[in-house]
Structures are given as structure tokens and as C-alpha cells.
Amino acid sequence: MIEMQDVFKKYPNGVTAINGIDVRINQGEFVYVVGPSGAGKSTFIKMMYREEVPTSGTITMNGVNVAKIKNKKVPIFRRNLGVVFQDFKLLPTKTVYENVAFALEVIEAQPKFIKKRVMEVLDLVNLKHKARMLPTELSGGEQQRVSIARSIVNSPKIVIADEPTGNLDPETSWEIMNIFEEINNRGTTIVMATHNREIVNTIKHRVIAIEAGKIARDEQRGDYGYEN
């Protein structure tokens, strides 16, 4: 469960990115975060995986107050989250298999378990046959599937995705969405910032619209609501 109470975020350069947000996202929900560029979407998402720290207010993720996590403990906190990025953020010198396995190696999982679990999630994203390839040998859509596989290999309760289809063509974007649907169907909470109007309007879920650092709209089965 994710809960934000009275959250403000002001950057050192004086820009107020988040201007008082209260929101609650329950376990198993699928939420789109939409809004114009520069409205605070990215900051909203980044505070969830503690890339950014709120200036005031509390953010609780699975019962942990994110703002209070010490710098050193941040990686440990992130192990209970899956994060998917627009630019994939794969390790360029590691193979597909190694990229996914890395998330399990950091928690010092048993090698046998790692092997089994990595192949399982690679199967889920349909990349088992490319396990030994390097990211540079894959298409954008395939790289994003690796990134998704890595985000769920730890079986996190929450997956946060920051514009996961932003760099992909429409057809590949649908493939990626199908994978997120599948993950959500297994009970994982998904929070996804997106600019993809078609997807939001077709696969209906809760929509939180952020404008000028505030929640402008929060609708169950909402629409994208902006002209792209």
C-alpha cells in the first residue's frame, strides 16, 4: 500500500514540483499517473522509490516512511520495489540473464533459486531464448521486457514504472502493457506514469492527473484527458 500525506517538494533552485499531495493507493491497484510535461509527474514517481526526498509530508510505502530512510539503507528499501524506467537502465556489459539475476544476487539468494527464478520471469516476458544476449543486441521493446523482468524477479508488492513505453513504437507498447496487465493480475500494485493517451483510454484503470504539483483529477477507470 502507498500513502502520501501533505507532501511538498521544493527543489534547491526554487521550483516547487509537488505542492501538497494526499493520495492512497491500495494493494493490487493499477494506477496511471498522467499530466502535462513539467507538472510534477516525474517527481511524484521518483519520491516513491526515493530518488527524491519530499521537503515535507510523509510517504509510506508498504508501511515504511520513505523520507526517513537513511541514504545507506536506500538500496535495501528498493529491493522490495520493482522500478521500470523509460530508458530501461540495463547494465550494458551484462547479458540478459545476468541483468535479471543481479537483482537476486544483491539479496544473496541461493544460486539454484536464482537460476530457476530468472528463467521463470524471462519466460513470462518471452525472452528465455535471448538470455545470453547483451542488451545492445536487443530491440527497444525487448530491452524494456528485460527491465520489467528484472523489476519483478524479487516478487515485489509494488512495481513503479516511469514512462515505460516512452521510447517504444505503438505495437511494442501494447506488448509491454500486456505484460504489466499480467503482473497486475497476479496481485502486484502498479503505478505507471505515462503520456500514452491510447493506452490509458483503452486499458481502463484508475487515473491520477497531476497539474502544477497538485492532484487535478483522481478517477476510477478514468480517461487520459489531455490532447497529446
Binding site: 541514504n71 538500496p75 535495501i76 528498493r78 556489459t93 544483491v106 544473496e108
Partner: protein, 306 residues
């Protein structure tokens, strides 16, 4: 108890993982590895050559120092009893290490020997030896030679106590100065090496800073990230020490084979190949490893604050 064991086993397994990771990384970052190893190699050759020269100079200095002795000329008026008394008086001086008697006959023989062909002329003196009996005195510390000689000079039945006045002082000053200069130069070279190598390693790690950031985003703790880099630096340093060790060993072997026979009977000596070259190799490996580890640890540290 059980828990503790499990934790230890996990740690060893993780260490194995880090080692494998570091080896893979060396292979995958081919050119960067080459650059770092080359930097280590070049600097260690410089350090190594300089170290070898310094150690040998030191050895020469030590030999010369040990050769310094006081020759105490004994008055011809002294009988055996007086000589014995004088000997024990000299031995009682705190700076003195040993006193050796050399009769005037032995002295003449030495003189004749040292002059070679020309020495034959002195054979005439064998009947009427003009030399004195001598005590050859060594001090515990070569620096105390002058002090001891002065004290001995005041004793009864001593005509003179000779120790190469002036020359010895100059020699000691020279040795002291060259040692200090050597230490400064080696330290300077060492820091240059550290700077050069850690800079190269830093560049290789900067190239991977995105990687480090991603690792943290995926939940790797700083220690987990640091270990493979630490080990990689260690391997790079050790790899970089191999060529310098081979080159210096070969060069020193040849230099020793060439020089040693020429120096026989001379008071100047160079250090024998074994164990000196092994010691130098040890020093170079240790330096390579230290510099490699230091360079990588310092560089990674910068990027671990994501």
C-alpha cells in the same frame, strides 16, 4: 548457532560471486583493462629500476662504512704486558666493538702484498722492520670512529691512532646525503605512480558510473558494488607488476653476471641475485596491488552517493 553458519556460508559464496564478477569485468572492459595495466607496468618499471639502484648504493655505502677502522700504532717501548694492558683499556671504551692485534711482521707482509711488484723492494726491511705493532680497532657504530680514536690517542704507549680523518667524515656525509635524496626520490616516484595509476583506473570507472547508479537503483548496497571493483583493482595491479618483474629480473641477472666477477676483491659489492630480485618482485607486486586497490576504491567512492 545454525544461523551464524548459514550467514558465513552466504558470505563466502558472495565473495566467490564478486571474484567471478571482477574477472568477467577485466575481460569485458578489454581496452580499459589494457590502459590500466599499461599504466601500472610503466610506473612499476620506473620504480623498480630506481629501487634496485638505490638498494645497491645502500649496500655499497654499508660496505664502506663497515670498512672504517682505527689503526692504533703501539710505542716500541711497550712490552707484552703493556700491550695487554693497552688492549684491555681500548676494549673498555664504550664505543669499541673489537680490538685485533697485528704484529709489525704481519703489517710489513700486508704492505708488501698490497704494493704488488713494487712491494718486493720493502723485503729489505725484513731484517730491520721500521713499522710498529698495531691494534686494529672497530667501533660498534661507524659514526663513533672519530670519538673513539680521540680517546685512544690519549692512552699511554699509543704513538698515534689513525682513521682516515676528513675522508671518513666526508664519506659519512656523502652516504647520509645520498640516502636522504634516495628516500625523497623514491617517495616522489611512488606518489607519481599512485597518481598516474589511480587516474587511469578512475577513467575506467567513470566510464562505468552509469552502471554503478543502476546497481544502486536495483538494490545493491555500496559494499556489494565496491567488492568487484576492489578485486578488479587488485588484479589490475598484480597484472601490471608481472612485466616489470620479468624485465628487472632478466636485466639484474645479466648485470650481476657481468659485474660480480669484476668486483671480486674490491670493497664495492652489489647485492646477489638471490634473494634480492625476489625481494624486489615482492615489493613490486605489493605496490601494484596497493595502488590498484587504492585507485579503484577511491574512484568508486565518488559514485556511490546516488
Amino acid at each position: 548457532m545454525m544461523n551464524k553458519e548459514v550467514i558465513t556460508v552466504m558470505k563466502i559464496r558472495t565473495l566467490g560471486r564478486h571474484a567471478t564478477e571482477s574477472f568477467k569485468s577485466i575481460g569485458r572492459n578489454g581496452w580499459m583493462t589494457f590502459a590500466s595495466v599499461s599504466a601500472v607496468t610503466v610506473t612499476l618499471i620506473l620504480v623498480g629500476v630506481f629501487f634496485v639502484i638505490m638498494m645497491n648504493l645502500n649496500k655499497v655505502a654499508e660496505t664502506i662504512e663497515e670498512d672504517v677502522q682505527i689503526r692504533v700504532h703501539i710505542d716500541v717501548a711497550a712490552n707484552a704486558e703493556d700491550q695487554q694492558k693497552l688492549k684491555s683499556e681500548i676494549e673498555n671504551i664504550s664505543e669499541v666493538q673489537s680490538v685485533k692485534f697485528s704484529s709489525k711482521e704481519q703489517e710489513l707482509e700486508e704492505l708488501i702484498k698490497s704494493m704488488g711488484e713494487d712491494g718486493q723492494a720493502f723485503k729489505l726491511f725484513e731484517q730491520d722492520n721500521p713499522l710498529n705493532d698495531v691494534f686494529i680497532v672497530k667501533t660498534k657504530n661507524p659514526q663513533d670512529t672519530m670519538k673513539a680514536a680521540n680517546q685512544i690517542g690519549k692512552l699511554q704507549y699509543v704513538t698515534k691512532a689513525v682513521y682516515g680523518k676528513g675522508t671518513v667524515e666526508k664519506l659519512f656525509n656523502f652516504i647520509k646525503a645520498s640516502r636522504n635524496v634516495g628516500i625523497v626520490l623514491i617517495a616522489g616516484l611512488f606518489f607519481t605512480a599512485v597518481f598516474l595509476i589511480s587516474n587511469t583506473i578512475k577513467i575506467t570507472i567513470i566510464a562505468r558510473r552509469r552502471e554503478i547508479k543502476i546497481m544502486r537503483l536495483v538494490g545493491a548496497t555500496n559494499n556489494f558494488i565496491r567488492w568487484p571493483f576492489f578485486l578488479e583493482g587488485l588484479w589490475l595491479g598484480i597484472l601490471g607488476a608481472i612485466l616489470p618483474i620479468i624485465l628487472i629480473s632478466i636485466a639484474y641477472y645479466n648485470a650481476y653476471e657481468y659485474l660480480a666477477p669484476k668486483l671480486v676483491g674490491n670493497f664495492i659489492q652489489i647485492l646477489p641475485f638471490n634473494p634480492f630480485v625476489y625481494q624486489v618482485s615482492g615489493v613490486l607486486i605489493l605496490m601494484g596491488a596497493l595502488i590498484g586497490v587504492w585507485g579503484s576504491v577511491m574512484s568508486v567512492r565518488k559514485f556511490l552517493k546516488v
